[in-house]
Symmetry: C2
Subunit: 186 residues, 2 copies
């Protein structure tokens, strides 16, 4: 038995975060997030996914997450879940209203379910669900109208921003033989 | 910026785990889990929910989780997510095939989505989704056929085991004025 759950972050991630310069342009925030997904492949620390929590008003980066499933052995550590948790730890509250989650790909079924609990106000995605499935990842059993369900809860959703750039990162992961980890499919 | 995500567990939880004596009876495992949910209320460490990961073959308890959302400020820390993560940390792998997740309540939309990624083979629940909603918690936007979706992935689902006992714990939380935390509803 253990008395804590401790998730060390890759050293590069903490350094990489410092490269972000607050910018009102959401496109710039997305470029930064997609670069983090690419770096996660290069560093061998996880799947080709990244997500950042940004303040909506001053555009500050609160936390950056990448997929750490294969390197930590924790299946919940999708980029979105890590970014949300790090932001909440940083702010000392589970309430992320007034924040935007910028993701290199649309959420899987787990991350979709996690969004309302985080209080996040806005979701911006690059690659589509279909793009992620195209390289072999399972996105889970999602509501067909998942975007509408989020919007009904007051979460603004923007899709397909810089989709092609994010797809290139997914393809690069596949071409380099990146692990398509999936306990359930085996 | 932080260089790790560290989630200290309540001291009582680590001690409480030691009370479990391996038993082939799933009903006994459920009683133990419901007791943990009740204890979580008494100790003021979170919502009225608990979950345990048990080995299917020898019935050993691998990890016990309780809801720690209000005490940690992390919205992903539902009992199921913590139990799964602690079990994976303990076993050094994200693959929990051959394990059973015993929960004091049916999974919310996030935990539903997390189950296939964990590889868990079996899910046993006590309180129903409707029981959880009845005391004011939001269960999220779930597929109407969520149980069937899990079974199609090879995850066996057993519902409503000791449902009344679990409902009593939920009602006790409500009667004691337990916090119905929900960033999104505010």
């Amino acid at each position: 038995m253990v008395d804590n759950l401790n998730i060390p972050l890759p050293t590069w991630l903490t350094l990489f975060e410092k490269n972000y310069q607050a910018c009102a342009d959401i496109e710039a925030q997305m470029r930064f997030v997609i670069q983090a997904a690419s770096k996660n492949i290069d560093m061998g620390t996880g799947g080709p996914f990244a997500a950042g929590v940004f303040q909506q008003d001053n555009h500050a980066l609160v936390a950056l997450g990448v997929n750490l499933v294969p390197s930590t052995g924790l299946s919940i550590l999708h980029a979105e879940m890590l970014a949300i948790s790090l932001a909440q730890q940083q702010l000392g509250t589970y309430d992320l209203r007034g924040h935007r989650l910028v993701c290199s790909a649309e959420p899987c079924s787990m991350c979709f379910g996690a969004l309302p609990w985080s209080g996040i106000s806005e979701l911006v995605c690059a690659a589509a669900d279909a793009d992620v499935r195209a390289i072999g990842f399972d996105e889970g059993d999602k509501l067909p109208n998942w975007q509408q369900a989020l919007e009904q809860r007051g979460i603004r959703v923007i899709n397909a921003m810089q989709r092609e750039a994010a797809v290139q990162v997914l393809k690069s992961y596949q071409q380099h033989g990146g692990e398509i980890y999936n306990s359930n499919a085996n």
